[in-house]
């Protein structure tokens, strides 16, 4: 997995709440057997007109937000389906960080598996970041995972929370499966004991 240590980039304000995974990556693009190449389809229905041309009012179609690697958005981002195609599509279009007041659980979890950092902040701080991104569009935001801070020059600095295990995995680009396989012996011990208790399952 790609490491995440620090990141500096342009933030795009997506003023919507409950952005669901069908909006992030509509179902017709799930008929793939690959993880890559989904970026061009991200937000398809709100990003492109029926004829395939860009919708001018969609934030990621505007400069300088076309270059954005940070998305600032409303509450309950990523609700809906479990499709990991949603973080794959965002990552593939260059988004590394999503900042929102809250996230849906499965999307939140899936993001970390792809070297992305979802950050939940209080609504007022999200509003401030959103306004900043609109008023001073070109100025980058810096995210430091080690220090757990979001800063914008000397304008502001917000701390953020992250689960220590997830932080460790992101900082080091660790693969969960590799970590778990190191516990192979504990897994077999569990199975042996469980076979006594719940024999019908095996």
């Amino acid at each position: 997995m790609q490491k995440f240590t620090t990141h500096s980039g342009i933030a795009a304000p997506l003023r919507m709440m409950n952005v669901d995974t069908d909006i992030i990556i509509p179902k017709q693009f799930l008929r793939t057997i690959k993880r890559t190449g989904l970026g061009v389809h991200a937000f398809n229905d709100i990003r492109y007109n029926e004829d395939g041309s860009d919708k001018e009012d969609f934030v990621l179609n505007k400069e300088p937000y076309r270059q954005a690697s940070i998305l600032i958005t409303g509450e309950n981002f990523g609700c809906g389906s479990s499709r990991e195609h949603a973080p794959w599509a965002l990552a593939d279009m260059g988004i590394r960080v999503v900042i929102a007041p809250s996230f849906a659980d499965i999307f939140f979890n899936n993001s970390f598996k792809n070297g992305m950092l979802p950050i939940a902040l209080p609504q007022e701080q999200v509003d401030q970041l959103m306004n900043e991104a609109e008023e001073n569009p070109g100025t980058p935001i810096e995210i430091d995972l080690e220090k757990q801070t979001i800063t914008r020059g000397n304008k502001f600095s917000f701390p953020f929370e992250i689960d220590p295990f997830r932080k460790h995995c992101l900082l080091n680009g660790l693969d969960d499966i590799g970590l778990t396989l190191q516990k192979g012996k504990e897994i077999s011990t569990f199975e042996d004991q469980d076979k006594q208790k719940r024999s019908w399952l095996y």
């Binding site: 409950n18 509509p26 008929r31 057997i33 389906s81 778990t180 897994i187 208790k197 019908w200």
Partner: protein
């Protein structure tokens, strides 16, 4: 011995923890893993690249459902991408030794319908699937939740997952559901109450006499939509209704194992005095036939209501969102719900495509005709076995006679990955679980409701109170 009163969730969690680190992150054992064609190819590819095997093939069951045509399958699948995904699942299952139901198998159907149907789903289990509606299986008193593809690969390789314990929430519905009001109305009302993010970070246990009075089909319907309230898992404590449903199914425990299993299952119910992080209560008598009017499942109203205005809401973000929803849905504030005309009807999905659902539909449709103004009214059974049963009971004949399209099993227009979809601007009464923008086809407008309500809507051509037709 643990003397502290525990919830159903805590009991299952405790029985599956392999290891917990200093931060409270646990490695938990996964008993059963359901796999389908859309969220698994990248996971199997990952196993292949790393030279890994499936850890517990016997605990894994695969089926094709999301992408399959619901029309004649004799000539296979036309769409090349869909076909590739389906073929890839078949090859992966063959290579990794996983049992799979293909499109010609009569046990094939929607993954959350076939698990319970085969007895693969049992109380006390941890069950996962790369699909958010895995919460359905919680109806059996299992801890069941949806996972992403990276986690699918993790489970295939290790039969475990890295998790933190969820918070607990109990939703109690006491009283008796009025006539014409079903499990679907109950869960829509619950989501309306808690909101689409109300259950985020929580596992919901549904309790109370109205929940206990539900059949297994009804319990599956409510647990299924837990994710629409933000909760990854929903559950109902197992009882005699649960045991009776499971007994004798192909993958259920047999003989001495059955007695041992039931004895264990009976210990799972939440202890008296166990504490939940959140408690919500509803009265069954207060629930009416319910429909959605917006593009999130919390936007519900009793069928007797009228489309709201942005100014009916306090939160400015919600006001903005309501404005967008009314525009997308092509609705004006103040319009009576029963004045909303429809184009298509979809009866199906992992929420409502079980035999009991189809019986409800047939009861309403018997001797009547689908309205002329309805372009298409589809009924998509949840599995080949449901289809067979419905044909045996005469349900299929009633529906075909009434003018419904009687289809082959699959996810179909719940997510519209196959050819079944809405055209831009078309309005649909749907028994599925999501009314998101574009969910049933780009520009399509979805109103969620119970099977009985969708059947009544098919007959009248507009949203209607099923109690008027009964």
């Amino acid at each position: 011995m643990n003397s502290k009163p525990r919830t159903l969730f805590e009991k299952i969690w405790d029985d599956h923890v392999i290891h917990t680190d200093e931060n409270g992150t646990s490695l938990i054992y996964i008993d059963r893993h359901l796999v389908h064609e859309v969220t698994s190819p990248q996971a199997f590819e990952g196993l292949r690249l790393a030279g890994r095997k499936v850890h517990h093939p016997h605990g894994t069951l695969a089926v094709v459902d999301h992408n399959v045509p619901t029309t004649d399958r004799a000539n296979g699948i036309d769409d090349p991408e869909s076909r590739l995904q389906v073929d890839t699942l078949m090859e992966n299952c063959e290579a990794f030794g996983v049992q799979v139901f293909d499109i010609f198998d009569k046990r094939q159907g929607i993954v959350h319908i076939i698990g319970p149907e085969q007895g693969f789903t049992q109380p006390g289990m941890t069950i996962v699937c790369g699909d958010s509606h895995t919460s359905t299986h919680g109806a059996f008193g299992a801890l069941a939740f949806g996972i992403g593809t990276s986690e699918v690969e993790h489970v295939l390789a290790t039969q475990t997952l890295i998790q933190k314990p969820a918070k607990s929430m109990r939703v109690t519905v006491d009283g008796t559901l009025p006539t014409g009001v079903t499990a679907k109305d109950m869960i829509l009302a619950i989501i309306g109450e808690i909101g689409t993010a109300g259950g985020t970070g929580h596992v919901i246990e549904y309790a109370g006499e109205a929940v206990r009075a539900l059949s297994m089909e009804g319990r599956m319907t409510i647990c299924n939509m837990s994710i629409e309230g933000g909760a990854r898992a929903g559950m109902v404590a197992p009882d005699q209704v649960t045991f009776d449903y499971i007994k004798g199914r192909p993958m259920a425990p047999q003989g001495a194992d059955w007695d041992k299993a039931v004895a264990y299952w009976k210990t799972l119910a939440t202890d008296e005095g166990a504490v939940f992080d959140k408690e919500v209560s509803l009265r069954a008598e207060d629930i009416a036939p319910t429909v959605t009017w917006g593009t999130t499942p919390e936007d519900v109203l009793p069928i007797t209501g009228a489309v709201p205005a942005p100014s009916d809401f306090d939160d400015p973000n919600k006001q903005q969102s309501v404005e967008r929803m009314l525009d997308y849905m092509g609705l004006n504030a103040g319009t009576k719900l029963t004045d909303i005309a429809l184009d298509k009807i979809f009866i199906g999905s992992c929420t409502n495509a079980r035999i009991e659902d189809l019986r409800e539909v047939a009861k309403i449709a018997d001797g009547k005709k689908v309205a002329d103004t309805i372009k298409l009214a589809m009924v998509v059974p949840g599995s080949g076995l449901v289809k067979e049963q419905a044909e045996k009971e005469g349900i299929a004949d009633i529906l075909i006679e009434a003018g419904f399209d009687w289809r082959e099993p699959g996810c179909s227009m719940c997510l519209a990955m196959n050819a079944d979809k809405l055209e831009p601007g078309e309005r649909c009464a749907s028994t599925s679980n999501r009314n998101f923008e574009g969910r049933q086809g780009r520009g399509g407008r979805t109103h969620l409701m119970s099977p009985a309500m969708a059947a009544a809507a098919a007959i009248t051509g507009r949203l209607v109170d099923v109690r008027e037709l009964a």
